[in-house]
C-alpha cells in the first residue's frame, strides 16, 4: 500500500485530504508543519508528499528544499496552495515540487494528480 504524508497546519485540511486518499486505498500520515514532516520522512520515507505552503516554523518550500537534500529515497511532492500567481508555481518547482494544486482541491483533482505522480493507471 502506498504511503502518503499529508502536511498542513490546519487539522480540517489534513483530515479532508487524508479522507479522500484513504477512501482510494492509500495509507496516510499527517504532519503539522515542515519540521514534523521531515522527522517523519526521515524515520520512514513516503511514496508521496502532499505539502501546504504556509505553515509555522518551516513552510512547504523550506520542507521541500530540506527533503531534496536528504540522502533518503526521494518521492514526488505536490504543493497545495491558496496562491495562484505564476511566480508561486515557479517557486514551488524550484523548491523541488512535482505538482501544484490550488485550494480548494476536489477529490477528483487530488486523486488524478496523485495517481499521475505515482505512475498509476487512471481509473
Amino acid at each position: 500500500m502506498k504511503r502518503i504524508l499529508v502536511i498542513d497546519d490546519a487539522a480540517t485540511v489534513r483530515m479532508y485530504h487524508s479522507g479522500i486518499l484513504e477512501s482510494a486505498g492509500y495509507a496516510t500520515e499527517e504532519a503539522w508543519n515542515g519540521i514534523e514532516a521531515l522527522e517523519k520522512a526521515l524515520l520512514e520515507p513516503f511514496d508521496l508528499y502532499l505539502v501546504d505552503v504556509n505553515m509555522p516554523k518551516l513552510n512547504g518550500y523550506g520542507f521541500l528544499r530540506e527533503l531534496r537534500q536528504q540522502e533518503i529515497p526521494q518521492a514526488p511532492a505536490i504543493i497545495v496552495s491558496t496562491e495562484a500567481a505564476d511566480h508561486d508555481e515557479l517557486q514551488a518547482f524550484r523548491a523541488g515540487a512535482n505538482g501544484y494544486l490550488i485550494k480548494p482541491v476536489s477529490p477528483l483533482q487530488l486523486l488524478t494528480h496523485v495517481r499521475l505522480m505515482l505512475g498509476e493507471a487512471q481509473q
Binding site: A10, A11, T12, V13, M15, Y16, G19, V53, N54, M55, P56, K57, N59, G60, Y61, G62, T82, E83, H87, Q91, K103, P104, V105, S106, P107
Partner: protein, 207 residues
C-alpha cells in the same frame, strides 16, 4: 584526556551585552556583515525603547533566519502596538518564511492589535485576509470567536471562510452554530466548506 572540569564559563571569551551602547551604535551593528553581530544587536535593543522602528525596518531586509528570529523576539518583548503594523507589512513579502514568522510574532504580542487585524481583514487580497485569520488563531484574546464569526458572515472568499471555520473547531461555541449553518447554505456546492463546517458543528455541539 578524559572528563575535565575547569572554571567552565570564561568571562573573557564572551561578548558582553552592549546595554550601555546607544541605540545609534546598535542600529549600525544591525547592518553589520556578520550575522552574529546583527543577532547580538537585535538582542541588546531590548533595552532601547525607541528601537521598534529600527528593528521593524531591518526585518524586511534581513536574509538570515536566526537574526530575524531574534529581531522578532525583541519586538514581541518590547510589546509596542506600533510594531504590529510594521510587522504586518511583511505579510506581503514573497518570502514564505518571513510571512509565517511574522504571523506567529504578531500572535504573540501581548498588547492590543485590533486596529491592525481590522485593517488586514479588510484587505483586498484574500491571502492577506487568510493570514489575518491565522494571526487570530494565535491570539489568546477572548473575543477571537466574534472576529471569526464576522469573517464567515461577511467574507466573500471561500478560502478565507474555510480558514476561519478550521479555527472555529477549537475556538467556537454555541454562538457560531447559526453562522456556520448560514455559511453552509452560502457555499452549498463546495465540498470542502461542507466538510469543514460539519466538523466545526460536531466539535461545538459536543456530540
Amino acid at each position: 584526556m578524559g572528563l575535565v572540569k575547569r572554571k567552565a564559563i570564561q568571562p573573557a571569551e564572551a561578548a558582553k551585552p552592549k546595554q550601555e551602547q546607544s541605540c545609534m551604535g546598535l542600529a549600525a551593528c544591525l547592518e553589520d556583515a556578520d550575522p552574529r553581530t546583527r543577532r547580538h544587536a537585535a538582542r541588546d535593543m531590548l533595552h532601547s525603547p525607541h528601537a521598534v522602528g529600527v528593528l521593524a525596518s531591518r526585518l524586511n531586509r534581513e536574509p538570515d533566519t536566526a537574526v530575524r528570529e531574534v529581531i522578532l523576539t525583541t519586538l514581541v518583548r518590547l510589546n509596542d502596538p506600533s510594531a504590529a503594523g510594521r510587522m504586518a507589512d511583511c505579510l506581503r513579502s514573497e518570502d514564505a518564511a518571513l510571512r509565517n514568522e511574522v504571523i506567529e510574532a504578531i500572535g504573540l504580542l501581548a498588547c492590543d492589535v485590533s486596529d491592525v487585524l481590522r485593517s488586514l481583514l479588510a484587505d483586498p487580497d484574500p491571502d492577506i485576509r487568510i493570514f489575518a485569520v491565522n494571526i487570530l488563531d494565535s491570539r489568546r484574546q477572548p473575543d477571537v470567536e466574534s472576529w471569526l464569526i464576522e469573517v464567515i458572515e461577511r467574507d466573500a472568499h471561500l478560502n478565507v471562510c474555510a480558514t476561519a471555520v478550521d479555527v472555529l473547531c477549537e475556538a467556537g461555541s454555541e454562538a457560531a452554530v447559526d453562522p456556520l449553518l448560514r455559511l453552509k447554505d452560502r457555499f452549498r456546492s463546495e465540498a470542502f466548506i461542507q466538510f469543514a463546517a460539519n466538523r466545526a458543528l460536531k466539535r461545538i455541539r459536543g456530540a
